[in-house]
Symmetry: C2
Subunit: 317 residues, 2 copies
């Protein structure tokens, strides 16, 4: 019998569960809608029964030795999810306690981006790196920070909220209640907000003028940018300028070897990376110029969060 | 015979050398002008002979076991000072190599603010803390970051350059060549720049209107603020607003238990701490509200940098 770990990625829309080997292969995977249950305990029992079914299907070969969970506002120390903006259940949710009870195995929780950073270190292109930052660009902007080979958790386990650092004191309204947070500019919805701002301010003809706010995705904006649409390109330039400036701050503070960009928005490739890298270098304190690698994640988009969640357990085996 | 460590604080104006016991008592101290020598090696040999004299004066009781040095742009890894803006010698200066050669003891170098952070942890109010940030507010703004009980050095040993994170993309010219760096707003000269900006923009009567730029010190502005001068008070309000906002960013990234403020500007006390704390709390991501202590350094101003430099050696004994 070989050992297997369940990696669970709890997102605002879907929760993805995968069975992950010590080599980082995801041998079974299932996705379920996150917010179907009125109460959190029903959700946890649904997650537990999906894990049980997956494990049962491979029980001739594998034994479950632990469950790693990545979730927004997940604390490594307490095992609780605390007031996550994208989840319907508020307050402190005792995730690891309830899940361990149902499954009778060791369960570890952390912030979803932290989990992905661990996954990059365990299974991706950060293997052997001691100091790096992993950034997820999706509905929001999350980050996981590794210093001297260890994930930075902070005093209460909530470190890495780069998405909620300030770009402008009186800037765009953020879901967290603050204004001007980085993720209101640099994320899939942030790119759309920027595109709409440019459509309002300029008179440049653009394919984007045919889309309603509700139907214009970051993916579409990236597609038009790659076709040379000047408004779409300017939206990426602005996004890269803000991201580059904030990454330069992060380099000044942490002096990392590399910064990984991951998630929907990062799949725009050089359309995003080129302006980001240019503005990063422009804003670097001289001693750090040309010292930091800006790289795409080495993990396939599909499984990175799940692999990272599983790596929470595997890193201690 | 007891052991003793020499702590050396290399500043742009003076270099202070102290002999520090394992308990953090500075039993001998001397100050010399830093920039008298045309070449760096002459400076190092001057430092070495001052250390020798100090040690000779206590040689009946103590043996020198090491030298810790704090200096701008000092790298812990290479033992070199690299292109420090406030020093006349440019390029990479092999400090630990030369000093060890002359003194025949273990020599360790780090950034001056990093050294002070270690001093706070070893001898000051950060004793027992695992996660904190130490900020020096003087001619510039330096910082030392401790995560999980260890100083964050970064990939090349230059982490902690919080003073060169961006406040405004096209803001004030900084000595480092960039524009809008935090230390152009939050430092002793930054406060003066802010006061002059307010004098220009407002018509408020103020005692500050009687001073030339070259003669107005941060200490004088603090004095007038404490007497109720509204321009001086507004200058501290603006300084606290910017510092509070950037500290909130730092909390979002690192989730520390405490932030220590140290150095000339911090001696303004509540005149600086009150607006800083208020704006820090206002800008915090909800999960971090009321979680972080903003404190003055527990080390006496006079010896903190020297104690910190010595602590570099003592922490490994």
């Amino acid at each position: 019998m070989k050992n297997i770990v369940a990696g669970v990625d709890i997102g605002g829309t879907n929760t993805v569960i995968g069975l992950v080997t010590q080599q980082g292969d995801c041998i079974k995977e299932v996705s379920l809608p996150t917010q179907e249950d009125n109460d959190f305990l029903s959700f946890i029992s649904r997650v537990a029964s999906h894990i049980k079914s997956l494990v049962a299907s491979v029980s001739n070969e594998y034994t479950l030795i632990g469950v790693g969970v990545g979730a927004p506002n997940g604390s490594y120390y307490t095992g609780e999810i605390v007031d996550a903006a994208n989840l319907r259940w508020k307050g402190s949710l005792p995730l690891t306690k309830e899940l361990s009870k149902l499954l009778n195995v060791n369960t570890t929780l952390t912030n979803d981006a932290n989990a992905a950073a661990i996954g990059e270190m365990q299974f991706g292109d950060a293997k052997g790196m001691k100091n790096f930052v992993f950034i997820t660009l999706g509905t929001g902007l999350g980050s996981g920070i590794v210093v001297d080979g260890k994930l930075v958790l902070g005093e209460s386990g909530f470190a890495g909220e780069l998405g909620h650092t300030s770009v402008k004191p009186w800037g765009r309204q953020c879901g967290c209640g603050k204004q001007g947070c980085l993720e209101t500019y640099v994320s899939a919805p942030g790119l759309r907000r920027t595109a709409f701002k440019i459509l309002a301010d300029s008179i440049e003809p653009s394919a984007l003028r045919g889309y309603a706010y509700d139907t214009l995705s970051a993916k579409k904006i990236a597609g038009f940018a790659q076709q040379g649409d000047r408004v779409a390109l300017e939206a990426f330039e602005y996004t890269g300028a803000i991201l580059g400036m904030k990454l330069a701050d992060l380099v000044a503070i942490l002096n990392p070897e590399a910064i990984f960009l991951f998630g929907g928005l990062s799949s725009a490739g050089s359309t995003l990376f080129e302006p980001t890298k240019r503005h990063l270098e422009k804003n670097l304190f001289p001693i750090f110029k040309n010292s930091v690698k800006l790289m795409p994640s080495g993990l396939k988009d599909k499984n990175a969060a799940v692999l990272g969640a599983a790596a929470l357990i595997w890193q201690n085996v």
